[in-house]
Amino acid sequence: MSPDGARTDAAIRRQTAVGRLGLVLRGDGPVTRLVDLDQAAPLRALFPHPVPGEPLTACVANTGGGLVAGDRLSVSVTVVEGARAMVMAQAAEKVYRSGTGDAAEVSVSLTAGAESWLEWLPRETIVFDRARLRRETVLNLDPTAHVLAGEIVVLGRRAHGETLTRGLIRDTWAVRISGRLVWADALHLEGDLARAGQAPAGFAGAEALATLIARLPGQEAALTDAVRTRLETHDRVRAGCTTVNGLMICRILAPATVAALGAFADVWTLLRQAGGGHAASLPRLWSI
């Protein structure tokens, strides 16, 4: 048995986890302060040394070593009163085979108040064969908030000889501005995942799908053009960009996850610089 196979069975035997992480960040002049932290294992937040001029950064770690059937994780991030924060995943998340037919459930709630800046920077979510995942990401935004958020789904690791045959991948978004639903999306793959992975109108053989959502009030039109130009330099991905109801949506499909990550990081850094005046780079932790 491969090391990963052994890991999968071990993971299935452990008890299901109910993890929780809540962060509230408040702006205090030019400084952003953590005013509330609520965490329950296996989720916890780590705070790397602040970089001058950069948003306060929090790393979300899942100490449970991946997701199995029945796990329920919920993350809530609130930035208020001009706070500037980046919340990033510490590592790629693995979703293991479901032995019970239940799904692992992940719920992410992001709330951004007036004149705030929030980045929700993911690592890839690697879905194993016969895994079942339901994830929802909900954004509630003030009209003046600036937000970058994303998710990256990997349909099995080709380099490890893994392909998906069956399972469930449900990944949904809902974005509200002043309470009004401006954009929603529901990726729902269920049943014959091999067919979905290969279908020309499905994933057309892509290993990874990255989604980047940007709310940068008043800058969408100019930045959409800039993102399109930047994406043209990535010739190993199929990527595009559009603007719907004041949100920029960028999608990247790639036959190799590393190519999707490269294009994703490139667009992200462009937007955090052009849209937020931050460094055109990502934290060193992200690229490990």
Binding site: D185, L189, E190, G191, P200, A201, G202, V244, L253
Partner: protein
């Protein structure tokens, strides 16, 4: 048949349950005539001007002959926006049939927001608005004005599947044939676009449409039993072609 049958298989196993609503009624003649008229290419919603990204898919060489067109269109109907549209049509039909205006608002809000790209959003809202105008003026029925007022008051664009579900419920049309008709019309419209774009002969187009009938049936049956919490689609390549279409140099279609 290589069309998008596989993904739907797992979702149809619940079909043995007894339907609690009259989805199975045979269509009375007036109802059949309404459905044929509303979903005909001649109904003034301008369906022929939308390709749902197909124009870019042809440009990229992803769709180039009868079989690749069938595969592409079958997947859209069963697993792409056809899947999501069917969910929204079903919910709005049930809501209006029950005169549950809060449920109508919820399904209409979701349908309006569930648009992957700017052109797909316009495709859904332009056809929805045109459909409701034509129904209101030409095919009045009790309830339509009230349903429209509910959505207008909520400031919502009415997506095409919601408009069809709403009108069908007001006219007392049962859900199954409406879903079947909607999904067939969606597929037929895209095949017609493909025939013009690739280009293909009319015979090849009709062969593709006939071969996709099992997909249309399967998609209809799956939609009848699917829970609202499983709404969605699995066609990121279609989203990509729609984004590419926004900047395509030569365009015959609006999407």
């Amino acid at each position: 048949m290589a069309g998008g049958m596989g993904m739907g298989m797992g979702t149809v196993t619940g079909m043995v349950t007894t339907m609690t609503e009259p989805t199975d009624m045979p269509l009375a003649d007036p109802a059949l005539h309404r459905l044929l008229a509303w979903l005909s290419p001649a109904f003034p919603v301008g369906a022929f001007t939308w390709s749902h990204g197909l124009e870019a898919a042809v440009e990229a060489g992803l769709v180039h002959d009868r079989d690749s067109l069938m595969d592409w269109v079958g997947w859209i109907v069963a697993q792409g926006s056809g899947r999501l549209d069917a969910d929204c049509l079903r919910e709005s039909h049930r809501a209006v049939a029950a005169r549950d205006w809060a449920a109508l608002r919820e399904s209409a809000e979701e349908a309006a927001a569930q648009r992957a790209t700017a052109e797909m959003a316009l495709e859904a809202s332009a056809q929805g608005a045109a459909f409701l105008r034509a129904i209101t003026d030409g095919w009045p029925a009790e309830g339509i004005a009230k349903a429209r007022a509910v959505l207008t008051d909520a400031g919502l664009d009415v997506a095409y599947p919601v408009a069809v579900g709403l009108a069908a419920a007001c006219h007392g049309l049962p859900l199954r044939p409406v879903l079947a008709g909607y999904l067939h019309a969606l597929g037929a419209n895209l095949i017609s676009a493909g025939v013009r774009l690739i280009p293909l002969g009319q015979t090849a187009g009709q062969q593709a449409q006939a071969a996709l009938v099992p997909v249309f049936i399967q998609a209809t049956e799956a939609a009848l039993v699917r829970p609202w919490s499983d709404r969605g689609s699995a066609a990121p390549m279609v989203d990509w072609t729609s984004m590419a279409h926004e900047t395509q140099y030569t365009r015959l279609f609006r999407s």
